[in-house]
């Protein structure tokens, strides 16, 4: 191997690292700013020139926001998002049985319809959904919010899951049916367990979509005790003052579950997404 090739390779590698570093600054910069601001005393938040690292570390912002109310909001968020995930997975798995494993007529139009419904901006659905929820008595309830979340999570879940499920060979289902299972039994006991990484990936994705919602929660929930955490953030933005340190502290707390889930489930998530990419 000649020195030129070695040098060229080194240059190329350096280039890759520089690009990766730039990307990391771009992606992690705001999170870094969020975390450091949450750890600064109020006097340093607007210091000029800006202080990238707090000179004196304080947890006062966290202490201030960790009230029983915030914990309640946090719990509400977890309940609503887990509920949405479970319901969404159940419904999308049932839908995918019909859409992937049976020769039901009209599968194509249904799939296209699902895709089109996903193209509507969420804000457009807000008013009709609100009226529907009002009629059904689902306003100001966590269950109602879960149902509302499904309007935008279910189409995505169906499309993603369909890809994972279609990638599983048909012969496995046929073998299971000859081994003594019904069509649905073969799907539920053989096909779905094999698509587990995909199901997990879709579950995580749905959870994230629900977790970051602000608009639906704001419109559907009126009772303070039922609010989700993103609404709790809103309470810190007053008409005269904004408690930036506290705001950042709550936002940091919002990130914790996402980081936790991702740390433990990233293997599934990435395996699932790439598996879907190969055949979907």
């Amino acid at each position: 191997m000649s020195a030129t090739i070695a040098r060229r390779r080194a240059t190329r590698q350096a280039g890759v690292y520089v690009a990766a570093a730039a990307l990391a600054v771009f992606v992690l910069g705001p999170i870094f700013w969020l975390v450091t601001t949450s750890l600064k005393p109020r006097s340093e938040v607007f210091a000029s020139p800006p202080k990238f690292l707090p000179t004196e570390l304080t947890f006062a912002n966290y202490a201030d926001v960790l009230t029983p109310d915030t914990l309640q909001f946090f719990a509400n968020s977890v309940i609503v998002c887990l509920g949405t995930t479970v319901m969404c997975l159940a419904f999308s798995l049932l839908a995918c049985f019909t859409l992937t494993r049976t020769g039901t007529r009209g599968r194509k139009p249904i799939l296209v319809g699902v895709l089109v419904s996903q193209l509507l901006p969420q804000a457009v659905l807000l008013v009709p959904l609100y009226r529907a929820a009002d009629t059904l008595g689902l306003l100001n309830s966590r269950f109602g919010l879960m149902v509302a979340f499904m309007t935008f999570t279910l189409p995505v879940a169906i499309w993603l899951l369909r890809g994972f499920l279609m990638a599983i060979p048909l012969e496995l289902e046929e073998a299971a049916r000859l081994d003594g299972l019904s069509e649905f039994g073969a799907y539920w006991r053989v096909i779905v367990p094999l698509a587990k990484p995909g199901v997990a990936a879709v579950g995580i994705y749905v959870f994230f979509m629900a977790w970051q919602d602000f608009m639906y929660s704001l419109v559907f929930l009126t009772d303070a005790s039922k609010r989700t955490l993103p609404l709790g953030v809103l309470a810190l933005i007053g008409s005269h003052t904004i408690e930036w340190g506290q705001l950042m502290a709550v936002s940091a707390l919002l990130l914790v579950p996402i980081l936790l889930v991702f740390t433990f489930a990233q293997r599934y998530f990435i395996a699932g997404l790439t598996a879907g990419a190969v055949k979907g």
Partner: protein, 360 residues
């Protein structure tokens, strides 16, 4: 154990203009090894899947024993199937794969394990019972698929090209094992393959299909010796039978001015142009003066004990391909011209239009 009957069974796909399987009438006896063979798209796999219940039957009936199973779901047909890609459950180990059907049928754990061990012993799978399918070789996976079928003691085995994913050498040895195993267990078996050698070596009887239509059902030897039409004649046998167009002549058929004698009964049935079929080993090399068909040798395949000689002949101005089996020591050279003829009892005559057999 039971017999299998297809009674006018038909499979028409929605929107199709021609059925994938048309009016299939086939009786498989109890304990028989029946091979369905034909080129791809001939309907052999579809026929098998109709029996298994994986494919809808759009006409006619299918019976297992005296029991009409046409509308019975697959799980109630008591059929075990071996798939081309084996279709082993990837998330279960070998033992669980084999025991799955028994477990669903409510067979107790002791009995389950006993039957799995028995099958594993039969198939040399004992050391691998704890392994997942992905940790097995192709041949081992194939045996697990067989084991999964065996443990169930089903009424019928369905095998859909179970050897085509194996390499050539393993295919030959597994072929023998499956045939021996079937004989030992005595379970009625339908076996689908596109490989006519597999069909000939394994089946008690062979059903040849083409374009969804059953052409002939017979023992391998009968298929070879008395093909019912041009298609079967050309499909069964390797290298394939020589099929040459010919005209009626005095006491025989005329191939490019060379008279080939046929027996009197056959000659009386000839009415117009015919197709003449001669197996490579049925050619006899003669001297030029004896009036054989001249063949210019283009390729010689030496096999040791004998050789296949490929050559070209002239059929009224159209070049024709001829294959001749020559005994060792009498193999002509490339470029040489040999003269060949055959004997009346070894010449198959088929109608030139319909392709039906005229020879008696």
């Amino acid at each position: 154990m039971a017999s299998v009957s297809y009674r006018g069974a038909e499979r028409l796909y929605p929107g199709g203009d021609r059925p994938a399987v048309a009016d299939l009438n086939l009786e498989v006896e109890d304990g028989e090894f029946m091979v369905l063979v034909g080129p791809s798209g001939c309907g052999k796999s579809t026929s098998l899947r109709m029996l298994a219940g994986l494919e809808e039957v759009t006409g006619g009936r299918i019976l297992i024993g005296d029991h009409d199973v046409t509308d019975v779901p697959p799980k109630e047909r008591d059929i075990a199937m071996v798939f081309q890609n084996y279709a082993l459950y990837p998330h279960m180990n070998v033992a669980d794969n084999m025991a799955f059907a028994l477990k669903l049928a409510g067979v107790g754990k002791e009995e389950r394990m006993a039957r799995v061990r028995e099958a594993a012993k039969l198939l040399d799978l004992e050391p691998y019972l704890e392994r997942k399918p992905k940790a097995l070789s192709g041949g081992q996976r194939q045996r697990v698929a067989m084991g999964r079928a065996i443990v169930r003691h089903p009424q019928v085995f369905c095998m859909d090209e179970p050897l085509s994913n194996l390499d050539a050498k393993l295919r030959v040895s597994t072929r023998t094992q499956i045939a021996a195993l079937q004989q030992r267990l005595g379970i009625t078996t339908l076996y689908v393959t596109h490989d006519q050698v597999e069909a000939m070596t394994m089946g008690d009887r062979v059903a040849v299909m083409k374009d969804g239509v059953l052409q002939q059902v017979d023992s391998p030897l009968r298929l070879y010796e008395r093909p019912t039409n041009v298609f079967v004649a050309g499909f069964i046998g390797s290298p394939a039978m020589n099929l040459l167009s010919a005209k009626p002549g005095d006491g025989g058929v005329v191939i490019d001015n060379h008279l080939l004698p046929v027996d009197r009964a056959t000659a009386s049935k000839i009415d117009g142009d015919v197709t003449v079929g001669i197996r490579p080993e049925a050619w006899r090399m003669v001297s030029e003066s004896e009036g054989g068909l001249p063949v210019r040798v283009t390729v010689v395949e030496e096999l040791g004990a004998d050789a296949y000689v490929y050559g070209q002949c002239d059929l009224d101005g159209v070049p024709g391909q001829v294959v001749i089996r020559a005994a060792a020591g009498r193999v002509p050279h490339k470029g040489e011209t040999v003269h060949v003829t055959s004997d009346p009892d070894r010449v198959h005559v088929f109608d030139g239009g319909s392709g039906r057999r005229l020879s008696t």
